[in-house]
């Protein structure tokens, strides 16, 4: 266990250093802070002096060191557009994105597992065939087209749910703007989270089905049948747990895709989250905000990957042994 955490920490440090280097390079190369701080009227000499004072003529490494120190203390620069600390701006939008992502994950779990399992247990059943055809087609529809179709059908044609914004939110604990607790907020959440879920669902349905079918072929499932166990017990106690191992791994990998997809979804639905903010920042060349976004997203990745590994270790007893050494 200690080894596991140590290794994770090392890896996290490595990743964060790379990300911070990239985001520092962005801040450094894009946009001139002096330009931002002073007007056009200031002479070149004064600018140079200011440059020196700000340490902009120091070597790359020492500048990076300063940046890193700032970053550790939570100072990622000030957004040009919002004139506020970049980190605060980002964190302000974090709840919206997280809520969107979690709703999508929730939908994926409650739909993909039953569908995948059913398609594996009864591969010849018409419903399974339907599931497979739909998920094959779904796999081929890019997320933005899914989103557009949802908007077109549910918002324009049927007028069932709003197509942009977050609607009414409530503030909980003074830090979290949540849309979960109002009817309006949930209505607004409906289409974006569905779009996100539908885009990622086919991968999971197909994976769960394929893995489940393989597990069901295995000797220990046959042995379980020969013990006279009931079908639900074999499917859900014996097979599902083994099926979930590779699914968890892929889930970890897909977490990255999920974040990328939130950018697309938020753009289409004008969802006031981090992705939307990021695209805005890119268009406005708001470099501190862009680099702050990178660092926050990097942090999210590190945390999710650690979580995924932990869950994997909990489900798979052979992994637990590896960390028994200590």
């Amino acid at each position: 266990m200690v080894i596991f955490i140590l290794r994770r920490l090392l890896q996290a440090c490595f990743v964060m250093i790379i990300i911070s280097l990239i985001s520092f390079a962005i801040q450094d190369k894009l946009g001139d802070p002096v330009q931002q701080m002073v007007g056009m009227t200031v002479s070149q000499q004064e600018r140079d002096q200011l440059r020196n004072e700000l340490g902009l003529n120091d070597s790359f490494l020492s500048q990076y060191w300063r940046f890193a120190q700032g970053a550790i203390q939570g100072d990622l620069g000030t957004s040009y557009y919002y004139k506020e600390p970049a980190l605060d701006v980002i964190l302000d939008k974090l709840p919206a994105t997280l809520e969107l992502a979690f709703s999508a994950i929730f939908i994926i779990i409650i739909v993909a597992i039953p569908c995948g399992v059913w398609a594996a247990i009864k591969p010849k059943h018409p419903v399974s065939r339907l599931i497979m055809v739909v998920s094959s087609i779904g796999l081929s529809i890019p997320i933005f087209i899914v989103a557009i179709l949802l908007v077109y059908v549910f918002s324009i044609e049927l007028n069932l749910a709003p197509s942009f914004g977050r609607g009414e939110t409530t503030n909980i604990f003074g830090v979290w703007e949540s849309g979960f607790f109002t009817k309006d907020g949930l209505r607004h959440l409906l289409l974006p989270s569905m779009a996100l879920a539908i885009a990622l669902m086919p991968i999971f349905i197909r994976l769960i089905r394929a893995e489940m079918m393989e597990v069901l072929q295995s000797e220990y499932i046959r042995f379980a049948w020969s013990k006279g166990l009931s079908a639900p017990r074999i499917y859900f106690k014996h097979a599902l747990k083994n099926t979930m191992l590779p699914v968890i791994t892929v889930g970890g990998i897909q977490a990255g895709t999920l974040v990328a997809y939130t950018i697309l979804t938020e753009t289409i639905f004008q969802w006031p989250g981090m992705g939307f903010l990021f695209m805005d920042a890119v268009n406005r060349v708001d470099t501190p905000l862009v680099s702050a976004y990178l660092i926050v997203v990097g942090g999210i990745f590190v945390v999710t990957n650690t979580l995924v590994d932990l869950i994997y270790g909990l489900v798979n007893p052979t992994v637990r042994l590896a960390s028994h050494g200590l």
């Binding site: 080894i3 140590l6 290794r7 090392l10 590896a322 050494g325 200590l326």
Partner: protein
């Protein structure tokens, strides 16, 4: 007096366990220490293979018999010890220096389904070594050799353009043997060549191997766990346990008068056809994984005759009256 062809002395091989750098740290006596574990597959093997004989190596899973084969063939580098071919030392050669011996020593593998390249026809499989080792041969000469070779192992030459998956297990093992014979070696290591085959097919392959031995005066190092085959085929038998040879004897002597406690247990455990054989001798526990280099006799943990000396001192091979040699303190001391 038979001429020794291969001489092996003090052969050792340890495989480092595949642990990451972080995994090597251990808490021992309250301190954090770094330790590299390794599996000791061979712990000092001494063997001689004579010209024209069949030396069978028997033992259970994990006793190091396959490692022995791989080390002799130069597929794995030994950690210590020497291997001599006639009077030349061959264990430290690089690939180029080894080339001479590649033609003289060949190998037949266990799994007929994996030992032939699935993307190469039988012709390609055989022509590669022939033309590689005999660059002076013309294409038609190579073809001729291949046809003769295939027919000599009982495969129709007209099927040389087929892929391995079109043949059955026994036929593939024949092709494997043909490949080994293609460079005209005088020594063949066969690593469990029969274990994947059915009884009736086993007999075919074993017959073929015996025919070839007679024809070409081959020497075999035959690795197997099947004692019935050993009894039939071997000139001498070496019994291995946890990386050491514990008994080496002419076949008839070994089967009529086994000496080492492990050999006795092993022989008593063979399910023979006659139903009135004695009860098998029961051993305590199972074969341990040799993570640490064993101290004392390798068999001590399961031996009913083990005493203090067996835990401390490793027994040496002692020549017995009937031309067998045994590594056992109990026999040396006359306790057994």
């Amino acid at each position: 007096m038979p001429t020794p062809l291969i001489q092996i002395s003090g052969l050792e091989k340890a495989f480092p366990t595949n642990e990451s750098w972080l995994g090597q740290w251990r808490f021992q006596h309250g301190k954090l220490k770094r330790r590299k574990d390794s599996v000791h597959a061979l712990n000092g093997v001494n063997l001689t293979i004579n010209q024209g004989e069949t030396l069978c190596v028997v033992g259970e899973t994990g006793c190091g018999k396959s490692t022995l084969a791989r080390v002799i063939m130069g597929l794995t580098q030994p950690s210590a010890g020497e291997i001599h071919y006639l009077d030349q030392r061959i264990d430290q050669l690089n690939n180029r220096q080894r080339m001479v011996f590649r033609r003289r020593m060949q190998m037949v593998f266990q799994n007929p389904y994996a030992s032939l390249n699935p993307r190469m026809t039988v012709y390609q499989t055989l022509s590669e070594p022939i033309s590689f080792h005999n660059p002076q041969l013309s294409t038609s000469q190579v073809d001729e050799q291949i046809d003769a070779l295939l027919e000599s192992v009982g495969i129709s030459a007209s099927s040389s353009d087929r892929y391995p998956h079109e043949f059955s297990g026994g036929q593939r093992q024949r092709i494997s043997l043909a490949r080994a014979l293609s460079v005209e070696p005088d020594f063949i290591v066969a690593d469990e060549p029969l274990s994947a085959l059915d009884v009736s097919v086993q007999a075919q392959v074993l017959n073929l191997m015996m025919d070839k031995q007679e024809e070409r005066n081959l020497s075999y190092l035959f690795i197997t766990h099947d004692l019935a085959v050993v009894e039939h085929f071997a000139t001498r038998v070496a019994v291995m346990y946890l990386g050491r040879v514990c008994e080496l004897a002419p076949t008839r002597t070994l089967f009529s008068a086994p000496k080492h406690p492990y050999t006795k247990a092993l022989l008593s455990a063979i399910p023979r056809l006659d139903t009135n054989t004695a009860q098998p001798i029961r051993l305590i526990g199972e074969v341990p994984t040799p993570i640490n280099k064993p101290v004392g006799c390798v068999f001590q943990a399961r031996c009913p005759y083990a005493n203090q000396r067996c835990y401390e001192q490793s027994p040496a091979m002692m020549m017995q009256g009937d031309a067998s040699s045994v590594a056992c303190h109990a026999i040396e001391e006359g306790r057994l």
